[in-house]
Amino acid sequence: MKNREYQQIDPQALATPTPTPPPRPLPEHKTKRARRKWEVFPGKNRFYCDGRIIVARQSGVLPLTLGLILLTSGLFFIFDCPFLVKHLTSCIPAIGGVLFVFVIISLLQTSFTDPGILPRATPEEAADIEKQIDNPAASSSSYRPPPRTKEVVINQQVVKLKYCFTCKIFRPPRTSHCSLCDNCVERFDHHCPWVGNCVGKRNYRFFYTFIVSLSFLTAFIFGCVTTHLALRSQEGNGLVFALQASPASALELVVCFFSVWSILGLSGFHTYLVAANLTTNEDIKGSWSGKSGNEDVGNPYSYNSLIKNCCSVLCGPMPPSLIDRRGFVPSDDSVQTSPVEIELPAAKNDINMVGRAVTSGRPPPPPPPVVTLQQPAISIQSHSTA
């Protein structure tokens, strides 16, 4: 095993000019553009605005969701509000407007926020974990070893942590791998096609706000349209005349009638989940309801207090994004990327990156990059082992 000369980057050297060559190669060395980490992200996600916005690969029915909301609200403001303002009060468009704004903003935030994706393991980490797992049958390539699990005790409950073959990590508790997005997501709730993204730790509160405000909006529009039609029928010659005078209301009525039940139901369900500090995933699988016949099971993550559960889920601290989308991929020919002696065959040039968080919405760091890492970057240039 050869010993390679390994250069470390001194963190102070990044700030002050030094005689030694900077970590980022100057344009005359190579004209290769510095790539951001989102460009080499291994999961099935799509990125927009240079990594600021993240969505799942399939947008699902997000355009339909947005379209329905915009259409129904638009029709409401154009056709129903003038009548209601004249006959009732001008608060109606105001309330409707506030609800509409809440719905749209929370929908966009749910769809475009990183739900809590866990970056995949670096090759050394994966090798380290492999070493710890006893696996005598690894020689046969066709035989897939049984799922590896690790047990931990949380709050006097035994919780099994599963090994994720794709991400090469032991999943933390409450983390699940989404096959649609091909990522492990922390506190995975579900993959929602209506918003076109996974719902996880970081965007659950946005999702909850979205469905609650949407149920209020739908119910509000339904109520207002019904009032509008009722008032018109009284003034005119009946319901048919009212519908003919305002056909858009009929459409709104139909849309709202069919959606209000499912949305209200969903809000109710998620309110229950929030109060019990459960995820949809856990509820469906019956992880803590004792379905497997074990009566001692209870939710180890619950604080056993309604208020505390609600507050911790909805008002807890906002965790940072763990995938540093807008950070720069350490360049191949910068000084610190000499191949490491750990015995990894250089089969593929698969660069794994993880990086500092704190990126959403921030302006990008100035060009001489690798500055996203305050620590000297030990970047590995090889790839997947096991």
């Binding site: 710890q132 002696e341 305050q374 620590q375």
Partner: protein
């Protein structure tokens, strides 16, 4: 034999990476970010146990403070909800502020304690908050087999 480096600069000029040790997460308290304080065998000859434990305990305290659910986080959460979460785009959250403090702390620890002993801590945020990666360097002058001379036993983590 113990390798002596006097600072990060020397480490940079004359060191080569030998191996890496990973300190795994401790999930016994739930999903909060907490690292195991178990002392890995590979560091036995490189650093005193107490120094290592002190570093990990301090890191755990920082993370506990960041994830604490209390008055300030409620205020932040409620304010964010009232503004339809737009405030997250404008303001730095408490968690982010503490992450910066953690970065500074790790840098300081590296400079004062770990680099002189030929070790380097990597900020957990750069590894998805899964592990604390400790890189062990050997003096390139001593070219004996540096790769896992002490085969990493499975006593690490778990």
């Amino acid at each position: 034999m113990a390798t002596e480096f006097h600072n990060l600069q020397e480490l940079r000029h004359s060191a080569s990476l030998a191996t890496k040790v990973f300190i795994q997460r401790d999930y016994s308290d739930g999903t909060i970010c907490k690292f195991q304080t178990k002392f890995p065998a590979e560091l036995d000859s490189r650093i005193e146990r107490s120094l290592f434990e002190e570093t990990v305990k301090t890191l755990n305290c920082y993370y506990a403070e960041a994830e604490k659910i209390g008055g300030q986080s409620y205020l932040e959460g409620c304010l964010a909800c009232a503004t339809a979460y737009i405030i997250f785009l404008c303001m730095e959250t408490r968690y982010e502020k503490i992450l910066k403090k953690i970065s500074m702390f790790i840098q300081e620890q590296n400079e004062k304690i770990y680099a002189p002993r030929g070790l380097l801590l990597t900020d957990p945020i750069e590894r998805g908050m899964r592990v604390i990666e400790i890189s062990i360097f050997e003096d390139s002058g001593s070219t004996s087999s540096s790769s896992s001379g002490s085969s990493p036993s499975s006593s690490t983590a778990q």
